[in-house]
Point group: C2
């Protein structure tokens, strides 16, 4: 025997019970045990009872590693996100998990906005043989693209709406989100407006935040607004402290700025706090808007005007789509699903008070 089992002494070490142990105790074959666990209705009631008793008695927990190898179905779904510590992405993960249901297990990896890290993650995820992969964004290395295309499983790119996805996409246009922000600020009568985001640093880049900045810039150009400015500061991910620092820089450079779009609500919150520290009235003297419709922005006082995206809905939709594809349906659906965006004006944006007391 290649692999020596414990000698058959009376005091054998207690080892995890296998299906074989259950089948012996119940006096049936392993196939019958397997059937009871997979679909009890196809086994005779009496046999089923005997098997269930043996399962309980031994505390048997089926080994899905072996089951997966044998059935060629792991019931894993891979999920690659920039970071878990962003409420939007956490919502997407939760939506995906809920839509997939209890029979699928999510394998989550986070890239910290590094394309190289994404490649490593994709490789190590594929080794677990997931049945589908959900990945944030459309910016991948050539090697990552090749691996994903050759994996032979559904791939869903999320948080963007490419016209030609790798396979499928569920998201919205970040460029349009930036445009909508600029148009909203202009519609209030503000002209000295700015957008704040992060800058690419080597391998680290927030491609979607950048697309929002570019959409914002495009409107400035279209409308001939020469008093606009795009400020890129620090590396992704952007959060509270980033927004505060970027706002400080912006106010130093353009003390007369009257409208600011931050590429995320977290960043907008930091900017709002900086305004408070400097005694700048929002929205009286300066209008501020964010992106993402974070719970934080809704509960803040004043509530932060934002561009709403359905973060949880992206996860839910991706999960539903995967289930359809697993079932061999969904071939007729469009490859790219755009869930859209919505401007949500709240307390931090207002028309300027031209004649302040």
């Amino acid at each position: 025997m290649a692999r020596q089992k414990k000698a058959g002494l009376p005091a054998e070490a207690p080892t995890k019970p296998t299906m074989r142990d259950v089948s012996k105790l119940a006096g049936v074959s392993t196939m019958t045990v397997s059937r009871v666990l997979a679909d009890p209705s196809i086994v005779a009631p009496e046999t089923r009872e005997r098997v269930m008793r043996a399962v309980d008695q031994l505390g048997y927990v089926p080994d899905l590693v072996a089951g997966s190898l044998s059935s060629r179905r792991t019931n894993f779904v891979g999920l690659i996100l920039p970071t878990l510590t962003n409420s939007n992405f956490a919502d997407t993960a939760q939506g995906l998990a809920e839509a997939l249901g209890a029979s699928y297990q999510l394998l989550i990896g986070y890239t910290l906005y590094q394309a190289g890290e994404e490649e490593r993650l994709v490789r190590s995820l594929l080794a677990r043989r997931p049945q589908g992969i959900v990945v944030a964004g459309t910016l991948h290395t050539a090697s990552t693209r090749r691996m994903l295309m050759n994996a032979g499983i559904p791939v869903i790119e999320i948080w963007d709406a490419p016209s030609a996805p790798l396979d499928r996409a569920v998201g919205f246009s970040n460029f349009e989100a930036g445009r909508a922000a600029a148009r909203h600020l202009l519609s209030l009568g503000l002209r000295r407006i700015a957008a704040i985001g992060s800058e690419a640093e080597g391998d680290v880049r927030d491609a979607r935040g950048e697309a929002r900045l570019q959409g914002f810039a495009a409107v400035l150009k279209e409308e001939g607004v020469e008093t606009g400015v795009i400020l890129r500061h620090g590396a992704a991910p952007v959060s509270y402290a980033h927004g505060a620092a970027a706002m400080k820089l912006l106010l130093a450079e353009r003390p007369d700025v009257e409208g600011v779009f931050a590429v995320s609500d977290g960043s907008a919150f930091g900017a709002l706090m900086e305004c408070r520290r400097q005694g700048i009235d929002v929205p009286g003297r300066l209008s501020l808007m964010g992106f993402g419709d974070f719970e934080l922005g809704r509960e803040c006082e004043p509530a932060i005007s934002t561009i709403r995206v359905d973060a949880k809905g992206i996860g839910t939709k991706a999960g539903e789509l995967l289930r359809e594809l697993f079932d061999g349906r969904g071939a007729d659906l469009p490859p790219s699903i755009d869930l859209g965006i919505e401007v949500v004006p709240r307390g931090t944006t207002a028309a300027p008070r031209r004649h302040a007391p």
Copy 2:
């Protein structure tokens, strides 16, 4: 043959390459391919090169499902948290992932504070044969306890510091955190103080938040403070909106309250926003403190006084401990590791202004 392979026609459907395919192409045995992938240094350089070329040419990605079954090592670690959408738990997950390194894959499940859901999660995680389990809290059903004890793998309970853990624990005392909060408010000279948290609703309960409330109540009793109040409102998880609602209720009941401890910084932030809406000066008229040292509280203006716990450090420590246990070390370490807490006074707490203008 039980399982018919595709007939050996010229136009065979392209299927995922196996180690066998690589070995044939390289003209070696599968064992040699396996060795090159596991530890290249033990294979002759020339052979190694040939194998690597074959791997690249075929785009071979090893199947860890098969590898795990064969080696009896899945390199999975299970992690059970109440929710992912809480920055503290996201930090813990990140710390754990980093400490375990790239060779381990986290299997994350969230209970939404339901003990029944935890049982289901533990069962389904164990079926994936993780090599260790990290679980938030010490409140488990009898069935969950049994499964965890019989799993034959290290189990680390986190975010608490039980004197007799199931196996191991890494955390701190929530009761002491509540006591520290009460003592801090009393030390400022405040007497009409309150704590706000959630209440148990059926299967849904935040046992750790409740322990903090009880620590707070214990100090009230010890110090004979009869003007203190514990307000339990709504179901876990508590967040911004919960804090705002609880604060509103509290102010309606006790308009003269002068110090409030919220069981989380998220809740404290919501309470602070409610104060702002009601025009209540913090900390001038009312002192407010939270728990958890969220980034939000640090960046808020005024910054929120809090009880700091090392959320990421809990994950890191649990990960390091697991690696030691996997290596057969760590037996001499204490079963329960208390990382401690720290009162961090910031802008939302101050001694009362007895003679306000």
